[in-house]
Each structure stands twice: as structure tokens, then as C-alpha cells.
Symmetry: C2
Subunit: 309 residues, 2 copies
């Protein structure tokens, strides 16, 4: 299985458009110590010809440009895309808005929970995805589904979506007043991706790591995990936000209750942080936080990172 990181940053990307945090300033100075990153998304393939995208970030057009294998090759037809399908883990703008780039009556399969597909359906901006060409395939928690190509042939990849602790997308909060954020199970899903011989996990958002999740991830070959924040209150401390990680549905990397420490309890061959926020010091190549993450076996993902399983 081949994996390409299309974008490694959290919502808004790194740097964010209106952020003047020292990390953002460093990225804008174009030092090699602070690589800019687009919004989180990965592409998967068994053959490097047919690709499936996990989450469609607003930066998708730029991400395709940066990853030529996702654009037509000279020998392809006049209208063609190697993108056979898109799988959404929630309805967040940074995971869905990129769909509007995939227009022009091109076939592909769109996999998401009914709740997420409903949100897409209610926003007429997504009408650019012509239903004659784009099949909307509802998926269900804990039910394995097979990825098919645009000729309806099984790709060899199947996915099991499962709920992880989280919260609803920020732009839907108004509609969910009175409910507890994160109370709807379908709102934040993680993906277990399987080929005949390989398996990995994609978990770009996760508010906490209960024991059942530890058991599930134990002895796995590869886990992409929520790397939004280093410290739960770093956005507040640094005066760039008013919310804690917990409030936003993201566990922090550091601390006794952080992901590094908790996931140290289990065996994972390769562990990679993704969905990294501008404020996270582990973004910087020479930070002590990067060193701590690395020493604990973690990689910090970056755009165009390639992995072969």
C-alpha cells in the first residue's frame, strides 16, 4: 500500500492566513526550519495509478499540483483523473471544502456517513459535484466498506470506520445547541484501512484515548494520529485562541494524559502525527518538542511525505 501525505496541517493550514504567531512568522520567512503545510489529507493507492483521498481539504487543488501522480498523465484521456474516490471523516470545512475542486462532470465515489452526506446535500455549493457522475455512498460506523474505482471494480482496499471521542464541526454548532459537543457518535470518525496484507489507522481528530482504542491500535504497523496541539491550553496561553484542545476535540501530544505518553503503552511500528496546528512547537525542525516527539518514536508529517507499507 502506498500513502502520500497531501497536507499535514490542521484547519487553516500552516501558516494560517491571519496568524502572526512566531511559528507562522518563521514559516513566512521561508526558513528550512519551518516548512509550510497545507490542510490535512492523505492519498492511498495499491498501484500508484488509482488513488483514494481521505478528506478533501480546501487546499486540494494545490495538493494535486504538488503531487503529480494525482493528475492525468500524458497517455490518459482528454478528461481523466486518477482520483477514484474520496472518503470523509467528518463535515469540517477543512475536510470537505476541497470537494468543490473536483467538479466538471468527472466520475468518482464519495464515501461518508449519512450525517455528513446530509450536510453536503444541504449546501448547494456542492451541486458542482454532478450526481450523474459522483456517487454518494453512505457508510456506517463499524461496518467495513470496499473502495471501488470509477468502473465499479474493487480496488483491493477496504475501510472500517469507527467513532472516536470528538466534537461536532464548528460551523454546525449553531444547529446543535442544547446538545453536548461530541455527543453524536458519527461526528468524528477514524478509519482502519485494510488491503489483503496490510493495515493502518487514520485518526486526524481524537479527543481522548480510552482503553478500547489502545487495544485496537496495539501491534499495528502504522498509525496516523491527531497532532493538533502540543499542550491542551497552548492557544490560550499564546493569545491566539480561546479554546482548549479538549473543547475542540483534540488530545494534546504532551503531558501525562497526552497521546505520546498514552500511546507509549502499546506497540505501534510507525507512528506519525498529522493535522498539526500552527501553534504546535513540534512543527519546527529544531525545537525541543520535536526532539521529544522523535525520541518517543513519533514522526511529524509534512506535505508530499511518502510511505510504503
Amino acid at each position: 500500500m502506498f500513502i502520500k501525505v497531501l497536507g499535514a496541517a490542521a484547519g487553516g493550514g500552516y501558516p494560517q492566513w491571519n496568524c502572526n504567531h512566531p511559528n507562522s512568522r518563521l514559516a513566512r520567512s521561508k526558513t528550512s526550519k519551518a516548512l509550510p503545510r497545507t490542510q490535512s489529507s492523505i492519498a492511498i493507492s495499491l498501484d500508484k495509478y488509482k488513488w483514494y483521498i481521505l478528506n478533501a481539504s480546501p487546499d486540494l487543488r494545490q495538493q494535486l499540483w504538488d503531487n503529480p501522480e494525482l493528475m492525468p498523465s500524458p497517455e490518459d484521456p482528454l478528461r481523466y483523473s486518477p482520483i477514484m474516490g474520496v472518503i470523509l471523516t467528518n463535515a469540517d470545512v477543512d475536510h470537505t471544502a476541497g470537494l468543490i475542486n473536483l467538479r466538471e462532470s468527472q466520475k468518482f465515489n464519495l464515501y461518508a456517513t449519512k450525517r455528513v452526506l446530509d450536510v453536503i446535500g444541504k449546501n448547494s455549493i456542492f451541486n458542482v459535484l454532478n450526481p450523474k457522475f459522483v456517487k454518494r455512498m453512505p457508510i456506517e460506523l463499524d461496518n467495513v466498506f470496499n473502495l471501488h474505482d470509477t468502473e465499479d471494480t474493487f480496488s483491493g482496499i477496504s475501510i472500517k470506520p469507527f467513532a472516536v471521542p470528538g466534537k461536532v464541526a464548528l460551523w454546525l454548532e449553531d444547529e446543535s445547541k442544547g446538545k453536548n459537543f461530541g455527543s453524536v457518535e458519527e461526528d468524528t470518525i477514524a478509519l482502519e484501512i485494510n488491503s489483503a496484507t496490510k493495515k493502518f489507522f487514520y485518526i486526524p481528530a481524537c479527543a481522548s484515548i480510552p482503553d478500547w482504542l489502545l487495544t485496537k491500535l496495539d501491534n499495528s504497523e502504522l498509525v496516523f494520529f491527531d497532532g493538533t496541539l502540543w499542550q491542551d491550553d497552548e492557544m490560550i496561553k499564546q493569545n491566539v485562541g480561546i479554546k482548549t484542545g479538549k473543547r475542540m476535540g483534540h488530545i494534546s501530544m504532551s503531558g501525562e494524559e497526552g497521546s505520546i505518553n498514552i500511546l507509549n503503552k502499546i506497540n505501534i511500528k510507525r507512528r506519525i502525527f498529522i493535522h498539526i496546528n500552527t501553534t504546535n512547537p513540534s512543527l519546527l525542525e529544531d525545537s525541543k518538542e520535536r526532539e521529544i516527539a522523535n525520541k518517543n518514536g513519533w514522526e511529524i508529517s509534512y506535505d508530499t511525505m511518502e510511505i510504503s507499507l
Copy 2:
């Protein structure tokens, strides 16, 4: 007045994600004869510190990265953007979707006709623009409005929107069945941009050039004009589409009824094509069509092009 071209291409950009037209292939080969272009948008400013954006393309985040003057400077506050306002000429995805990049509770003014603001309002994805921070300012055809900064101070720039021959946004067609496309006057607007001493026109879509428009544009210093297609039927002839330019609301550059010939009748000091489609041969630096356009006094815009009036 300072103008920066943020994006010079038509919807989908150049190359388009699923287009394998020879022009797109050339752009992907990264030859200097075929510069890639993002989706059409320009930024205007009187002082190079406070900027206003005409149309918010889906590529806006990349466009800000490519134009550092539109990002915070080191001396700016922790949360800041030099973008004081966005003006929309219609509800097309390639003119509106970029708004979702301007989130995170940052003040700016959004100017559009009531009809366009209604579409934005009905799409919950745009709820990321917090109404506490983003003022939605309805504008009216033929009524001059002043651009204000986020402190509500007059910028020195005022704009007169006016209807030009066009059609409704493709993704709204279902809702307008039974009406003739282009029958709603507000759907395609052009902008006359004025400072105390300078004036120019921004017309990224226009289906034909009636006499009144010729009169209006005569003796102007600068006109950005719809450069979608070279020939009305080029997308059909080249097997990449089924619609004529006229059907899509775009006059062609060439031909007796084309924009080059018709606008040759009047005096315009500087004439620049923008909103250029992948199939347009004038995109190529060494094409005979580029030569014809240039000989007739036209420039083909490109991303990061700078103009000072």
C-alpha cells in the same frame, strides 16, 4: 492605486484537475512557455497596507502565500490580516468558495448583491465567517458604494457595480429552471473602481459588448476583461466540453464579434485579459494567438502580475 492579479485563470484554474488538453499537459511539464495560473481574483490597494479582494477564489490560501503583502507582517498583532474587504461579482464557486479560507473570527467587510449574499447565507458552510466579525454589506446595481476598512474608515476607493450580459452560476441552474439563463440582471456584475484620481474596470465575465458598454469603457485607463475563450466553440471542437462560450456567458477573444475586434473601436490605455480558460491558446507564451492579442494591445494576465495606476 495598486493592483495585484491573484489568479488569472477561469474556473478550475490552469491546468484543471481532470483536464489532459495539450495546454494542461504543457503546464504540467513546467515549461516557461505555459505558466500555471490559479482562479481569477485581483487585490486592490491605495497604500499597499490595506487590501480589498475582488472575488474569493478557491485558491485564495495559495494566492495569499504567493503574495506576501496580503499576509500579516512581523510588526502586526498576533491575529491580523491586511485584507479589509472582499467584493463578489457573482455566486460562482470559483468566485465565492475562497471565503471559507477567511475564517477564525477575523474582521472584514463582504460586499455583494442581495442575491449573492442570500446564496452565501443559505450555504451553512459559510457559517465559518462569524457574523460578529464579517459584515455582510448588500450592494445595488448602479449605486456607488465606498470600501471601508475594518475600523469603518473610508479607504479612498469606491465602486460602482453594473450588470453586464451574462448567465447564472452553473451550480444554481437547477433552481432557475424555466428562466432564461442570464435573465436575472444581478447575476453577472462588472465593477467600476474609483479612487480620487484613478479609475479602472473589472469585468471577468461578459457574454457580449453592447454599444452602451463600449461608450462606458471608452477613454478609460485600464480594463480587465473576460478572457475565457479564444473561439466560441473551442471547448466543443477540442472535445473537452459541450458548451459554447455564449452558453456559458463568455464572449470569445477572436472573431468579428469577439472582444478584441469590438474593443478595438474604442480608446483604452491598458487592456488586460483575465479569467482565462485552459483551452485558450493565448495562455501559451509562444502561440500565434498570444501574438495576435499582444499586437492588438492586449496583455494576458498571470498570477502575481503587478499594476500601478
